[in-house]
Symmetry: C2
Subunit: 525 residues, 2 copies
Amino acid sequence: MTLTGNLLLGQRAVAGSRDAIRAIDPATNQALEPAYAGGTGEHVAQACALAWAAFDAYRETALDQRAQFLETIADEIEALGDTLVERAVAETGLPKARIQGERGRTCTQLRTFARVVRSGEWLDVRIDPAQPARQPLPRADLRQRQVALGPVAVFGASNFPLAFSVAGGDTASALAAGCPVVVKAHAAHPGTSELVGQAVARAVKRCNLPEGVFSLLYGAGREVGIALVSDPRIKAVGFTGSRSGGIALCQAAQARPEPIPVYAEMSSINPVFLFDAALQARAELLAQGFVASLTQGAGQFCTNPGLVIARQGPGLQRFIDTASAHLRQAPAQTMLTPGIFNAYQAGVDALAANPNAQAAASGVPGQGPNQCQARLFVAQAEAFLADPRLQAEVFGAASLVVACSSDEQVRQVAEHLEGQLTATLQLDDGDIDSARKLLPTLERKAGRILVNGWPTGVEVCDAMVHGGPFPATSDTRSTSVGTAAILRFLRPVCYQDFPDALLPSALQHGNPLQLRRLLDGQREG
Amino acid sequence: MTLTGNLLLGQRAVAGSRDAIRAIDPATNQALEPAYAGGTGEHVAQACALAWAAFDAYRETALDQRAQFLETIADEIEALGDTLVERAVAETGLPKARIQGERGRTCTQLRTFARVVRSGEWLDVRIDPAQPARQPLPRADLRQRQVALGPVAVFGASNFPLAFSVAGGDTASALAAGCPVVVKAHAAHPGTSELVGQAVARAVKRCNLPEGVFSLLYGAGREVGIALVSDPRIKAVGFTGSRSGGIALCQAAQARPEPIPVYAEMSSINPVFLFDAALQARAELLAQGFVASLTQGAGQFCTNPGLVIARQGPGLQRFIDTASAHLRQAPAQTMLTPGIFNAYQAGVDALAANPNAQAAASGVPGQGPNQCQARLFVAQAEAFLADPRLQAEVFGAASLVVACSSDEQVRQVAEHLEGQLTATLQLDDGDIDSARKLLPTLERKAGRILVNGWPTGVEVCDAMVHGGPFPATSDTRSTSVGTAAILRFLRPVCYQDFPDALLPSALQHGNPLQLRRLLDGQREG
């Protein structure tokens, strides 16, 4: 479990030769050993060649073998023990308990996808048997299954060094679908990435899979990433990060001779709507819950509540006053990287300098480097509707309250929003009619709608949608969290009049995988 | 049922004011009345505004109401009687029986989607009930369903004036998903388009749906189409046509502030692999079936067999000789438009002038205007691998036989192919092992793989895949024929901790739609 600073090209550890990245402990601004020299175009090509060579065999692994592989990755990550936790804490400034929780989530996620793989439901088997006597033309025997898209490029995210990184949701769902994965590690946590990458590589070996099923690359800047997305052997991309980064990858993917899908999860300010009866009944409780959600993890969540929308009045004033009071007590927290801290500072400085927004409260100022001081601003709806800068994501513990003069203005503000990962409704019984009127708008704007909760906290389960209209993601037809994420990396293939000997087992007449098929228009019991 | 030459903006017939299109009877080169003046940018905006206004209501129509709407469209198309058939024959040069068959297919398709809508399986309901006592954190109640993407722009295709046009597969699947549709009629059959458009508009009225559920636009050139795809209220695009047209729409969709999915079905040469034992046993029969498939409908099918690949030898020579003999008897057939005829001529002239291809046979020369003379060419595999021009689609009854020196060269040729709608294997028992080795390549290259059939003829059923890797389509994750096409126009939304009174009926606790939900990880019986 020693850190080597090497790339992983399949089972081979190789030293890069380009500009190195080095993790920085954001709590101290100290650089951490070792250096990770960047990969070259040749390294990218080697990783993709290995992935391509592995693809046909890996995508046809038996369901149980593939599930065991995912479980073995989880076992190997757990076997890293405190080495992993300590390195992740040092590289991210996140508390130890948070990293431990995230490790649990990461391993649960891998094991959940193992269950999904075994169930085989994702194969979506559809069979229309031959009708040789049909008039005017006979019907052929037609059988459809889902097959893996091909090798997938995964970009680790800064804010979840385990759950959205080397063996995070994108990797787990791609591997579950039968796609080899080439990861570009996030520059903020290369050591954590290497440890997890070694764990995945060990699982590949233990499960006797072709080595190209997994590779891990490093690189400063965007060169390695763009080369990876441009490689003809890569057939899909998973990304969680900034809007500019996601759009750059989408453009690179579209510029290829063969364009490929990009699943980029990018930007969301997660509006929270406070309805009148709820505000009247419990403005103070709402303010407390809001500040807890806003400041959790220094606000470094894709689902952080960056926008609060409500009708002006005494209830909203009580909410603002109480939230301000809580916020003033909120301790400063170390952010993930100096870059994220600087972007946060620039974002709140821009809001503070914007005459359309009034500063309501600030948290406890930071004492050490890279500490996020929570901020709350207030704007009038007219100003919000007129000023697109007020809708820009400020990644961190900053939020804006938009005060509206009427239900109609609340609706206008909602219609004016860009696509979101989440929208939240705080309501009491008396608000149901108002909420119902707003719902069609929110269904068009967000991937997940919550009632009387807070958007931070994303469950890994069958029903989760962590996605949403652009710019929340680049592809609103999917989710990056939850079991439905496997569907992103599949495509349908139809087999017509195949002899049983040539059919994949999922489609054979005897149904050896015991799947619940759609047979002649009827779902099997 | 009089043709007016007007656009349909919802229920309103409006005269365009831009350059007019006029159908041309390709059998006589005579222009047909009336003229269809093109829509303006303002007409496009009005159609999109109506579609947007209709969207929230239409996407929440009850399943039975939406199904009845699809059935009513089919009824109204049938009620057009011979008026429709005669106009379509005049505009396309296709035989009457073909148009009658296509009308049947179109109406069956609409009724099939009515069945799909009623089943509700496409809602993909997933429910993870709350676990308030879970440690360390409780689980919220999470419920997922699929919702419609938004208004869809549909571009009619030239080669199926009914089944891939105004009320064809793209329109049927989008309407089934809950999306209003704005159709840009194909310039080759505006009268057929108007008749069908009037039928759809009557169905909208009979079913008391908001008028914006359907509009129909005309336009010479690409102006109306690009304006339509660029309108912010359009959320997806369906297209069947040329590679250049499809790519132009993809680029317009990506250039929007909010990029949207484009389902463009573009270009495929549908390779047919003839294996040794099959060739030895029945080269003559294969040649006969091949020429019948190649010349059907003057070769104007997306699935036309434009490429034949086999090992050199006496079997292949018998195939080429017999196919040539049949082809020489093949009568010339009128093509759909002068433009398609000219493109076909240019394509076969280029092949005839290419030293890498040898002309093997020509069909009976045409006597009237726009008649397709069938053509067969032969090339050696080395030349095919070296010359990308030999892989260019020639839309019409032309095909190229590629002679290979070994199984390995057959595999190389297969790997060298672009993405395809179909790949066909002609094999006998003795060929099974060779076919099995080729299958992984073909699964990566094509959406449908056939054994001992011919690719023309695309069944509308659950298991069909009419799709495939780029450039066969712009999105290999889907199909444009068959019931799975409804999935193209949906996105998931998750509802967290909703009171029953706010939940859509598909997700309510009492399961009033009686759906087979994925409940706590288990599929309901």
